[in-house]
């Protein structure tokens, strides 16, 4: 009997000491992934954001951080906390911001996020991400413990009148050249006739409110033949630039840097690329154009080389014949 008790005790102690976490699988989703809000100072609203757990049962919590755009491709830098004149809280009865909750496998929960703009909040945009944070596992071994954050963007514009001036411009419209030729103070962009022609379009927003430009690119040949491509209307946040990208991006072997789109085909002569930018619910239209030249330079070079080699061979042959003839004449004499 004593032996059995000691055995059970030892087993319990061993179990307690050797507690190791199983490798947990995280698989979560949020909906909606983004909310765009225009709000007056002093007003508040409620927004529901769903979290679904398709992985193992885990402990989650919520947090909100401010962010700023960090590059021209939709990247961001997070701040340490939610800054600005917006106040956030959860209206769920069982869950507050930062509180931990268990979400079982295959279950879903909804965060009812209350967003309030303080009285006299300065007009302008404020950008946040609502995070659902999955706690890391616990283990007794040398290990890295994965804590996971999944975020939903909350883009808030504070305005008293609802009037949000659009201050967007086309900051860059460029064809990536194969060759560049500077002549008479002008730089010519040249591509091979069978090249992919990558185009970069960057939109700058110098205003205090984000803009969502719709950009259409048009390629026109000197013979009047044209091709049009629409770029995805991505948000350009305040005081930032953004590379606009085609939604279904074509494969591009020549693209060493991020580009907006690629024109493909066989090109010859002068081409004009124009960008037309419009905005939702606004009459404002902005245009920019650039041009490039396309020639089968490699083919022309090869043909030139062949011609040169042929010419040299012909000259040599003629000289050889001449010498042979001279030699024959000498022998004849």
């Amino acid at each position: 009997m004593r032996l059995v008790c000691v055995g059970i005790l030892l087993l319990t102690i061993y179990h307690q000491l050797s507690t190791t976490a199983n490798a947990e699988k995280l698989h979560v989703s949020v909906y909606p992934p983004q909310v765009e809000i225009v709000i007056k100072p002093g007003k508040s609203l409620l927004q529901a954001i769903d979290l679904k757990n398709n992985g193992d049962t885990m402990v989650f919590s919520t947090s909100i951080l401010s962010f700023e755009p960090s590059d021209d491709q939709g990247g961001r830098v997070f701040k340490d906390k939610a800054e600005g004149p917006l106040r956030f809280s959860l209206e769920n009865s069982q869950m507050g911001l930062g509180d931990k909750f268990v979400l079982k496998s295959r279950e879903k929960t909804q965060a009812l996020l209350k967003i309030r703009a303080v009285e006299n909040a300065p007009e302008g945009d404020y950008y946040y991400t609502l995070f659902f944070v999955a706690d890391p596992p616990v283990t007794q071994t040398t290990a890295g413990l994965g804590r996971s954050y999944i975020g939903a963007n909350i883009l808030v514009s504070v305005t008293n009148s609802g009037n949000m001036p659009i201050e967007g411009k086309i900051a860059q419209l460029q064809v990536i050249p194969r060759y560049s030729l500077s002549l008479f103070g002008k730089t010519f962009t040249i591509v091979e006739s069978n090249d992919e022609v990558p185009v970069v379009v960057k939109i700058a927003n110098t205003g205090q409110f984000m803009v969502t430009p719709q950009v259409t690119l048009k390629l026109v040949s000197s013979l009047g033949k044209s091709e049009t491509k629409k770029l995805f209307p991505a948000n350009v946040l305040k005081n930032s630039q953004r590379l606009m990208v085609q939604e279904e991006f074509p494969e591009c072997k020549r693209c060493k840097i991020p580009v907006s789109t690629v024109f493909k085909g066989w090109f010859f002569g002068k081409y004009t690329v124009s960008a037309a930018m419009t905005f939702e619910f606004a009459d404002k239209k902005i245009y920019a154009t650039t041009e490039f030249w396309a020639f089968p330079i490699r083919l022309m070079g090869l043909m030139g080389l062949i011609s040169l080699v042929s010419l040299i061979s012909l000259i040599r042959l003629m000289r050889h014949k001449k010498h042979t003839k001279k030699g024959g004449d000498m022998h004849g004499k």
Binding site: P33, G74, V77, T142, L145, R147, S148, K230
Partner: protein, 253 residues
Amino acid sequence: MNLINNLVSMLIRVSIVFVLLLTLNSQLSTEVYAVNMNSTNYNIIFGNLNIGSGRHDSPNYSMTTSLGQTFADRFTSSGFVVKVGFQYIFTTMPFEFEISSTLINFGTLIPNTFPTPLPTLDVTITNPSRGYDVQVIEDHPLRTLSLHFIPDTTCNGGIQACSRTSANVWTSTAATGFGYNASGHDVTADFLNNTYYRPFASREAGHSPVTFMSSTIAAKNRISTVTFLANIDGAQATGTYQTVINFIAVPKY
């Protein structure tokens, strides 16, 4: 004969009553597709309940539709407008994030020897509407409770020194430290192959999270494999070394 006639007549009656009941049911139970919850203080906007939606393009026109959508146009209330729906962000699909394992187990580290196999995990992202970023940052370097550290790697060092945003070659077992490699879809270009590593950004040191996987276009089942490497020398104090690695997945704005 009479019996058969009676049976047929009864069947016809039953059928007529059944059809009548069905019609009545369909009239009474007309489905409602829109949900709108208002009060003077708040307004809850749920995701759209679409019975049909899509984007239709031809060379001559472009049109978006979302039949049965609760708020097909901008939703306006007294003092705010919320854009959350198909017409504006072209999505009815959630943003999904998956990590194959949240435990990166190094087992027992042997001085000047790379662990085999190296611990790995897969990161999977699905965002059908837009691009995404996955960032990573550690709480602090690997350390014991008695504050012995395994420092963050500098890779092979010298001309092959790496930084938080620029991977470099780490093949020398004499070079100690802790770092990671990434391979697969959409990983940053500095991870040229599986010998290229970066040290983690550290919250304790006041760093910002660093992106290692990113796309500017819509993504479905984009998978990268993150490989972790920790290497010590003979002078490393014995103990259990741990840190928390934070993986941050966000949709592009």
